[in-house]
Symmetry: C2
Subunit: 326 residues, 2 copies
């Protein structure tokens, strides 16, 4: 029921995913009358694989997480997470209030043993492919131990996406040992001694886009700034190129070549909006789609949930943490 | 004598600036025989406005600041700063080791009253013009008071570049009061009560490039990551567009339109490399040019020094700090 535009695009994305993935079952959680009305206009709905679980309340996008946690026991987001906790579903996907989703996820699902705080991860494009960047804003102040936990989680997440021995780096303002703040320096020491992680050292901001690492670890403040400034910069470059291409007929004709590239890049650089971001470290799979995600964006988020289910991400993570921490 | 490629491009940039600015006098600090040799090949050198001050030692690019400070009393960088301290020159421009330049600047020149730590500022391009971003890496851990001082310094720096009542914002991961870490939240409270600053609130990463503020304040870790990741992203986008334009003859022809734009953007996004960054908060004007700056980059850095001399930047800053802190 959340998101900036309500459930309409979520319903459409759900139907598209059901058509594309025959083994998929979906449960829509929210106000039944509204959801039924949206479904009634659609053709070819396989209702055997689409159920509705009622929830009477909605957490708004600007509601404080603590308040949402205390006061709305029948919020769609909460009921969805309870379905996950009770093994009625295998993953939860939401376009709602990020802070509330994180707070409710921690409260309802709990974190995995060895994880103090869940992290938010998404893939950003690089010169050579993609890199998993975490944390993206769930944790603003992080200790070295938190960064170590993020590194483990990011590494396992990259493996589930098909990357063998992912190269894990700490984001820093230089590559020499003496650079950086205390948390980063201490995290480097912890990572050097950590089993089962292919830790390659520090990476700088430009190195992220050069593809120097498969997993880049930082605190949520820095990760959020990196991600959003990149999104803003890509948008600005796209606008400048568009305006350049409007200046002459010849340039308009060839602008058609460059603009799709820029649009794809802009989409890749807004992964939370377009492809969904995973919450890692919970006893369950939770995918955050952007509040303003369109149909395609929410489809991507559902697809990411399917991959994490197939790869048993939380169980793999649990096993890896046991190896590492014992 | 510093920089990745030694003094050759610095000598050339100096000569170009002397030709372009008739009122300019320059002093080259370094090994006289080497500098004379480089000058001997040049025509039309106005030696009345170009002097050489000898310095026998050179601080290398990977030398630790503390070591450079202790052991090299006749380093070109140090001698140049001493000329500035002794009023023999009005500004110091260097392409050398950033950390050493900052440490030596603080030691030789001292900070202005009311400033705990100098900051490094540079202009980055936005949708609507430019914004002054600081700190860029001189200070990794900052208190709220440091951020307040950066805000004052950035505001005055923007004014000297011709911006009336510059809009000053704190970089944060959200625009609501509850967002961010403790330092940022506390700095917001301090800035709300600060006289003489046009504080407009929080700005997010994407808002920086949307041009929401003229001055964006953050700690040096975050600023460095934002700047370098932007530089890396712009380079990556430029490469992708170039490769796209190589794919067909028609696209090659029109690629000529887009590539200069991308090169200019890439240059703008590497301000420390291309346009010089200012050290603010010192009792003297110090401009850092990038270690790999070419002739044009170092010329820009000299020009920035000239502007700061004309605008009396340190004196203006001193006056503003007195107003604010008393």
């Amino acid at each position: 029921m959340g998101g900036d535009f309500g459930p309409r695009s979520i319903v459409q994305a759900s139907l598209a995913c059901l058509n594309a993935t025959p083994s998929l079952h979906l449960t829509l959680v929210g106000q039944p009358s509204l959801l039924e009305e949206m479904l009634s206009g659609q053709t070819a709905v396989d209702r055997a694989r689409l159920t509705i679980t009622p929830a009477s309340e909605v957490i708004t996008m600007d509601e404080k997480p603590a308040q949402a946690l205390r006061s709305k026991s029948d919020a769609s987001m909460r009921v969805a997470l309870e379905l996950l906790r009770d093994d009625k579903v295998q993953a939860c996907v939401s376009a709602g209030n990020t802070g509330a989703l994180m707070a409710l996820s921690r409260y309802v699902l709990k974190t995995l043993p060895g994880i103090d705080r869940p992290a938010m991860v998404a893939a950003i494009p690089t010169r050579t492919g993609f890199c998993q960047l975490l944390d993206l804003g769930a944790n603003v102040d992080c200790s070295a131990e938190h960064l170590l936990q993020f590194a483990v989680m990011g590494s396992v997440a990259a493996e589930t996406l098909g990357i063998a021995r992912p190269r894990v780096a700490l984001l820093n303002i230089g590559t020499e040992d003496i650079k950086g703040n205390q948390q980063v320096k201490l995290a480097a020491t912890l990572l050097q001694g950590a089993r089962g992680i292919n830790y390659i050292g520090f990476v700088e901001g430009d190195g992220v886009y050069r593809g120097e690492a498969d997993v880049v670890v930082c605190d949520g403040f820095v990760g959020n700034i990196l991600l959003k400034s990149s999104e803003g910069l890509a948008t600005m470059i796209g606008e400048r190129i568009e305006s350049l291409f409007r200046q002459s007929l010849a340039s308009r004709m060839v602008g058609a070549l460059a603009l799709p590239l820029m649009r794809r890049l802009q989409a890749d650089l807004a992964p939370a909006r377009h492809n969904g971001a995973s919450f890692l470290g919970l006893q369950g799979i939770v995918i955050k789609s952007h509040g303003s995600a369109g149909v395609q964006g929410f489809q991507s988020a559902i697809n990411r949930a399917v991959i994490e289910i197939q790869e048993n991400l939380p169980e793999r993570l649990h096993g890896r943490l046991e190896d590492l921490l014992t």
